[in-house]
Amino acid sequence: MPAPASGQRDILVLGGGHNALVAAFYLAKKGHKPLILERRHIIGGAAVTEEFFPGFKCSTVAHAGGPPLAAIVKDMQLARHGLQKLESPIRIIAPNPDGRALTLYTDAQRSAEDIKRFSQKDAANYLDFSASLARIAGIAAQLMELTPPVIEKPSKEDIWKFLKVGRKVRGLGKKEMMRLIRWGPMAAADFVAEFFETDLLLAVVAARGIYGAALGPWSAGSTLLLLLRAAADPYPVGNSAYPRGGMGALTAAMAAAAKEAGVEIRTNAEVTQILVKDGKVTGVVLAGGEQIAAKAVVSGADPQRTLLSLLDPVHLPPSFVVKMRNYRANGTAAKVNVALDALPNFAALKNSSATDAAASLAGRIHIGPGIDYLERAFDHSKYGEFSPAPYLDISIPSLLDNTLAPAGKHVMSIYMQFAPYQLKSGNWPQHRDALRDAVINTVAQYAPDFAQKILGVQTLTPADLEATYGLTGGHPFHGELALDQIFTMRPLLGWARYATPVKNLYLCGNGTHPGNGVTGVSGHNSAREIAKHLR
């Protein structure tokens, strides 16, 4: 028999990740009394700062924000709660094997200047591309904040909101409207080739369409992912803004805001079961056996963990269970965090527009010098092997943030693709060191003294991402962001409005629309719907 119930609660929020914190905050603002249950000793989910080597801290999983939705930053008054944004004007530097490096800035004009060293034509097109992408991303951004409509029977409100977006779409003009329709299903490699010819530039921009996905640049639909990212951040490449203190500082500020709004947070409280009676949620059971009764449960965990593992599937329609099992959430990403004695020397910096090494490395460093390189890295993952020459997205946050490493020393956060969750042979603990070595060797090709500077390394394989951070399949985005798993189909067609077949059980994490990295939009949207239901 489980332990006696500890009194009925209003809303339980499972998981203390960024979306859960955002959802809890907004629900508290509506007068609810949410209790967040986080299984780890720290809140933040995949947006955490941890000491991975004595004296060295970094954002162990996600290393850059989506960025967070402006409305959330404002409503939660995150700055007052300690959030401090550090930003590099350089977004990405991409070293090339030929010894050159491409630097892209937030300022399109400056980027174009740099691209000129590779191609005049590309430089000119870059300005057009940036502008067109920003316009289209602006429209897509509005879709992000929309609750996906019910396809069967759109409500008046759905139609009204849709028409509003529709009017904006129409404002784009015929050419860009068609572009919007045509681009989505395209392969990112084809998409970027409509604008550029320099392989390195093609790869840097296309990489945004495969980041965190089981897609290569030649996979159809990767452009959609690129556009989704651009919707959160309307530039050709991802941002280079970090919270001081790492991603954990962002979620700490969110937690502070939530607490102030009346949210209660319990860490070391692992939910093992969601209780249901007569099709309606009644509470949860914790790892120790403690039962907490509640009116509603909002899960920040991924859809499969929530619905297939925490919930007994007997409470769900069989066809729903089959579809949820088919929801694709096998990750392809790994993380390697490195404590460095000093900054490694990237050879290509000698041959870039950089004047100062520290400043030029303060954004993200892209390793993946061509479309074929990225595609080959992906190829291995299809057959259950990790890439020997992987695509890497690197940040050295200690260049801007002196709270992460001892003076003069640095931390390097390396996001690696492709490492498939399901290996063809052996298991991840057996392959962890080989994965680490592949990543280190790849970086060393561009920074030959890299290995000598290493003091300590933390390697997180997809299996670790699942075991430690609760990401089913090790998927950083709680499930593939593919054409068939977005918008009205995230996580499943007919169940994209944050509710589930179990009454008063809701989803608020990245496995719901728009589910687009550390933006908080899923949490924001879900709170709006949940508050309506519970009214």
Partner: protein, 539 residues
């Protein structure tokens, strides 16, 4: 007074419509126009009609369906309207598909429902169950998609009530689908064939063979999103008439073209072979005729209907300055990427497959070299980097077993569709690699049928370059352009130009590069004819 040699004096020579290209779509287009009373001239550059649907006697006594090899998609309304059986069209059944497996076993799906079920049960009870459900679901999907195949694509950016009505019609149909079918349809439109089939089945060889329909004629792998739709496109052949109505045409695929040609001629169409178009004449933005290659002969007509692909129509036959910049950009961007080749073999006897020895009924169907999903995907990987697959996907048939008219008595034809053979090679040319390509195919088949090499008495290796050279299909793409999502429906071949019209007045498109796309279907030719008639009725 006009000069005697001025073309306007030869009023008798003037046609209402000139159709460029005598492929199946060009002929369908011409036949429909002629039946509506138009005076139509078809210009075919080769000595034989049919484009990619031709039968040629490459080796004495052996009549090869040189490029295409089976038929299923030909629209029933076209067969009916043009009375094709009376003109010699006879479709013979192609009975099922057998897949030799890596472990020496086979997977044989036949037209006989009970036999297929028992065969699937031998591999997996679950798959045998799922196969029936899958079939039902696909039929529901086909029912949904079928009217779209016969629809002039609406313009989603337009506020024209006719477009809105069509979009609303599609929306309503979607809403009326069962919840399960809605879910399946959305998946079909967006997923990869492999992911889609993974949800239904567990037998690797079954999934691999079924997923092959999702990649035929595309430069995509079975794991590429969007291939599930192509799977449906090919499945369409299974709902008109009997279940699984894939078949051979007696006399080869050229016989289909000949039947359509005969119907066209009966309707009054004039057909000129070995008349290759060099230029389309345009006067003040209006198409007025064509110039022939070589002779320079000019032929005039009120309307030009081009069944060849956009690359030839707009970039070869027309000067750039005649076309708006945006349109030119779209035409240049339109993707062909031929990915398949063909190997036709004249055989002294029947190949003997290790997995099922002897000359059984299984040889009367398709034989598919698609032993596993990984095999299929690896074949694609090589093509991505500009090499032909060292172990390709092969779909082969022995038409001579069902139709003895195509080979001498006792002899046979093995007609092999081969993928992937990328048009653009990373190194070398197709002329250098043709032999190696053909031998790879023969070696691959020999792994499953070791006696093959000893039977070969004649061979024809066709690379994408050969397809382009002979038929004119750009980059050897058998569908006149990739069937990828961004090139379908109202985006085929270019956004805003999916309704058979072009920026040049009186110039129309009627080939596979227009909605609903490739395969021996004839729908583009028919739909274009209806649009042309609509416009000329108005003027």
């Amino acid at each position: 007074m006009r000069l005697p040699d001025s073309p306007e004096t030869f009023m008798a020579k003037k046609y209402d419509v000139i159709v460029i290209g005598g492929g199946h779509n060009g002929l369908v287009n011409a036949a429909y126009l002629a039946k509506a009373g138009k005076k139509v001239l078809v210009l075919e550059k080769r000595y034989v009609l049919g484009g990619a649907a031709v039968t040629e006697e490459i080796i004495p006594g052996f009549k090869f369906s040189v490029y295409s090899y089976v038929v299923s998609l030909l629209r029933p309304e076209i067969i009916r309207d043009l009375d094709l059986p009376r003109h010699g069209l006879e479709i013979l059944p192609l009975d099922g598909t057998i897949t030799p497996m890596a472990n020496g076993d086979y997977l044989w799906r036949q037209n006989d429902h009970g036999k297929t079920r028992r065969e699937l049960e031998r591999h997996s009870k679950l798959d045998a169950e799922a196969y029936e459900e899958f079939g039902k679901s696909m039929v529901a999907m086909c029912r949904f998609v079928k009217p779209i195949l016969a629809m002039i694509p609406p313009d989603p950016t337009s506020l024209d009530p006719r477009d809105l009505k069509k979009l609303a019609f599609l929306g309503k149909r979607f809403q009326n689908l069962e919840a399960e079918d809605k879910y399946n349809l959305v998946q079909l439109m967006t997923m990869s064939a492999a992911d889609f089939l993974d949800q239904w089945f567990e037998t690797d060889a079954l999934k691999a063979t079924m997923s092959a329909s999702g990649i035929i004629g595309t430069f995509l792998g079975i794991r590429s999103p969007g291939t599930a739709y192509v799977l449906l496109h090919h499945y369409m052949g299974e709902i008109d008439g009997a279940f699984r109505s894939w078949g051979f045409s007696r006399g080869g695929t050229g016989a289909i073209s000949n039947a359509i040609g005969a119907a066209a001629v009966e309707a009054g169409v004039e057909i000129r072979k070995e008349a290759s178009v060099a230029k389309i004449l345009i006067k003040n933005g209006v198409a007025s005729g064509v110039v022939l290659e070589g002779s320079g002969e000019e032929i005039y007509a009120d309307i030009i209907s081009s069944s060849v692909d956009p690359n030839l129509t707009f970039l070869k036959f027309i000067e750039e300055r005649q076309l708006p910049g945006d349109f030119l950009e779209d035409v240049r961007r339109y993707k062909y990427r031929g990915s398949s080749g063909k190997v036709n073999l004249a055989l002294d006897g029947l190949p003997d497959f290790t997995c099922l020895p002897g000359p059984g009924h299984h040889l009367r169907g398709a034989i598919s070299i698609s032993p596993s999903m990984e095999y299929m995907e690896r074949a694609y990987d090589q093509a991505k980097y500009g090499e032909f697959s060292r172990r390709p996907y092969i779909d082969m048939v022995i038409p001579s077993l069902t139709d003895p008219s195509v080979a001498p008595p006792g002899k046979h034809i093995l007609s092999c569709f081969v993928q992937y053979a990328p048009y653009k090679l990373a190194s070398g040319t197709w002329d250098e690699q043709r032999e190696a390509f053909g031998n790879t195919v023969i070696d691959t088949i020999s792994q499953y049928a070791p006696n093959l090499k000893s039977l070969i008495i004649g061979k024809q290796f066709i690379t994408p370059l050969d397809i382009e050279r002979t038929t004119g299909l750009t980059e050897g793409n058998i569908f006149q352009g990739e069937l990828s999502l961004e090139q379908l429906f109202f985006l085929r071949p270019a956004a805003g130009w999916a309704r058979y019209r072009t920026p040049i007045k009186k110039l129309y498109m009627c080939g596979s590069a227009t909605h609903p796309g490739g395969g021996i279907m004839g729908a583009p030719g028919r739909l274009a004819a209806l649009e042309i008639l609509k416009d000329s009725g108005r003027s």
